[in-house]
Symmetry: C2
Subunit: 296 residues, 2 copies
């Protein structure tokens, strides 16, 4: 099984990604697609004259404030336009796709976040009426039913809350949790960068392999949005996903080439083994490679 996250930064350039999904689908692979939608939301907000407020977290990550009005735009742009046209593009290639938001079969449930934002004066402000959520559950049974029926689920980063609301959730985190729950072998995050770069200005500085013991170092290297991707991939491989890959969605064959090693590969289960230790504990043992030791 493969979980593919298609970044909003691809701006609808889904042709090559969809062609690769078709190839995997024809090979009998189970594929789950998760997509983004931030860019489409920003664009539709702009066209509607809705000002989108940015909030900055204490750790410096910038995100979009999701008011009720912005949520509606997010649902239309992301779970409406991107999701529906992506499903149509896959179906036009002969892939039996089905588009889902979190409320469909309660596939993704989340709790509303209390957002910590730093004010221009450097104070911390708590925002309680935001429509963004922290993922609480994934309905793996339902996704597995769809996969067994031959479907490719295409999941929008819109979750359902215990209060019956729709909430905006992070697409990378969603893809990671889905991969984890479905015990997927691979998780591929496609965006507009070739992978994780040590130096953003130098494409030659691509980090090819990331081993479990490199977490602290890698989290220092990753900046901004990339930090979220890195954290999502660490969570996935820690939970049993064999490989988490950050790769460019702009290649001719973005998924296949990522599977062949193009991008930054986070190594997981295949690099470690799991055994009960005889005193009731579950112990994961990492096989640490030479390159991992060299990488510090």
């Amino acid at each position: 099984m493969i979980v593919v996250k298609i970044g909003g930064s691809l701006n609808g350039n889904f042709r090559n990604v969809c062609a690769d999904i078709k190839r995997l689908y024809d090979m009998g692979k189970k594929v789950v697609v998760v997509h983004g939608g931030g860019e489409a939301t920003n664009e539709l907000s702009r066209r509607l004259g809705i000002e989108v407020e940015k909030v900055i977290s204490p750790s410096g990550i910038e995100s979009r404030r999701t008011t009720k009005e912005v949520l509606e735009v997010f649902v239309m742009a992301c779970a409406g336009k991107i999701n529906r046209f992506l499903v149509a593009e896959l179906q036009s290639l002969g892939v039996q796709a089905i588009g889902l938001s979190g409320a469909d079969g309660r596939v993704v449930e989340a709790e509303r976040k209390v957002i910590k934002a730093v004010t221009p004066e450097g104070k911390i402000r708590l925002i309680r009426d935001d429509y963004s959520g922290k993922i609480r559950s994934i309905n793996a049974t339902f996704l597995n039913q769809l996969l067994d029926m031959g479907f490719v689920p295409v999941v929008a980063p819109v979750a359902f809350s215990s209060e019956g609301e729709l909430l905006n959730v992070d697409g990378d985190t969603l893809a990671s949790k889905i991969a984890l729950c479905l015990k997927s072998e691979d998780l591929i995050i496609l965006s507009d960068v070739p992978g994780l770069l040590r130096d953003l200005r130098d494409p030659e500085s691509l980090i090819e392999d990331v081993f479990p013991d490199m977490e602290a170092e890698i989290l220092r290297v990753a900046k901004g949005r990339m930090k979220k991707k890195v954290m999502a991939l660490f969570e996935a491989v820690r939970g049993g996903v064999e490989r988490g890959i950050i790769a460019s969605g702009y290649n001719d064959s973005p998924i296949i080439s990522a599977l062949q090693g193009k991008g930054t590969i986070f190594r997981g289960r295949s690099e470690c083994n799991f055994e009960p230790d005889g005193v009731g504990r579950e112990v994961w043992k990492w096989r640490i490679s030479q390159s991992a030791l060299e990488a510090g």
Copy 2:
């Protein structure tokens, strides 16, 4: 089984409709929901400053011209906003709903229409690049699978074309064809009118019962959008649906009261019986009631 069409004219006032769906769902009834979206599309178009052209058919029915730009708005407003929030509202009541556009599992396929429009000069103009469609197929197997899994499918009037495009289709016709294919007992079309009125200005002129032999007369009575509903209901009852009901969605309990007889009821299968006639023909025999004879 019950198929319920929720008209766009309800403008998001879905609370009572959803509460009734919950009641039927708890009684173990299979329910399929089809919704409209014309009003939401017009509103979003207006907010985006997109001028929506109206076309008038030779038979005098006005409809919206669906350019590529309008299709995108239609998908966002209808398959995005209405569909996703309707599913969330049902889920918040504990109804296991799943939202679908026609491309999901290729549940609704259509062919692009060539639209005949009357010009202001009274000439007929053929429009070939419109993104509206005529329904070609319904994937009843997929809908039945979902129903057997305990789902309430919520279907947007967005179809998938053989060219891989999304197309705008008529919601009433879609509901009728779904009811027919699933051999539903009841088809209820809810909108902002109490039923079919002989005189639009007189709510007392409600036609309570429509029998199969009243088609010509009823089609003369129905004007504008109501003509589409009437044609859709005749198609449904002709094909085996027992009752087709036009009723108000603004009642406290709109579906239950429609099933109890509030509205205009088109009588079908229960009023007739079907038998092979011994020479290989399928013969439908109508029991014609006294009131039908009196109604002319």
